[in-house]
Amino acid sequence: MNRVNPLHIIILLIVILAFIIMKLNKAKEEFIDTKSSYNKTVVLADKIKGLKSSYFNKNRVQRGIDQILRSYILKDSNIDKKVTNYSILLTSKNMNKRSLNFLLGKILNGNYIVSELQINRLNNQKASLNLEIKW
């Protein structure tokens, strides 16, 4: 007979439904993967941003060092500052104990990457310093 059997239509609908449910399940898996990947990206980005802005930011490091060097305690230490593309080099041939304590205290308690450090005791009160801070 020419009439389309309603049961055939129902079977066709079941097949289409099964196909779409399969696609939906795949899409859900993809969604979970994408969400997980997005969350990982955000966590990674936050960590990178946190470390970068704290330790590896050229402007922040330069501003911080300049602020420390402006202190009256370091006035007589004759600290020489040299800035390169990747670092700041601080040298002093003769600085007193108080200035050295102050400077090292600020640097070591702050968020700075100390790549090179040399302290040479000259006598009971004086020392020479070579300090490189990178970003």
Binding site: R3, P6, Y38, I48, Y55, I119, R121
Partner: protein
Amino acid sequence: MFGKFKKQVDTIFVDSNSPAFHIESSVNVILSPSLYWVKKISLPIKSLREVKALLESLFEDTLPEGRYSYEAYKFNDEYFIFAYKDKYILDLLAQKGIPASKINGVYFAQNELLHLDEAKKIDENEVIVVKDDMLILLPKKFTSAQNMLNVKDIKLSKHRVTLKQFGHIINEKSLYTIMALFVVLLLLVSTQYMITLNKIDKLQAQKDNTFSKYSLKPTMMQNRSLLKGYKESYNRQIELRNIIAVVLNMPLKPTQKIKFISYENRKFTLSYSGLKKGDEHYIERYFSAKNLNYSAKYNKNIWYVEIKL
């Protein structure tokens, strides 16, 4: 042009007493009056649809028990109304060698043979005759009919009957309800699928946005490598500060001094002056207690220490 390919379909008349047929191609079937119930009624209703809604009640009390389908056709100012059993007819047709797949169309004799002007034999025992616009079967002995009924060249009407193959299992209304449910389910699942795809696209866009917002490198591998480098530098700085804290917090005798401190290429070195032979053991015990991994040498009252980060 298309007429060239039009298939010629044979027409057959089927009664419950008909012999088996040998069907090779599709056929049109005219059902004998013995296979359905028919009434001619006059109703003050003009719409055929309204008549169809009343069919079940119009046959009430006149039909034996069973599941029936109903049909109605307008005839002048009156209506022919029909009641028939789909499964019974389909089973009978199958018994007569006419499977459902070979049926092109099914028609009631009432609609197709109204033009008969004399009684016609349908077999050796029965004749078919029109009386008061109603087609009826009579025993042959009641008439003097000589000619057999020939339906081969008959021009069929538009009143084709649809036989429901599964009507006895589940009625059409239920089938349509199930179909509607599946369609609704299909729409819901499709909508959820579209929403999920949309969410994936949005997440992907947010992820891309995170890359530009945080100025990340193009690939996650590069970013992981960058973070690893940052972490290594950070951890090394923490270790350096710990070592300096240990070294500077160690109590020394007034004669003992730190002469030199250096940190370069992940190597921390320092030297102590004013140490007598054996004093270095005290410092060594102190360093060991603080878990410092060091190497040392003692030379001319100066103790050299090297710690690798």
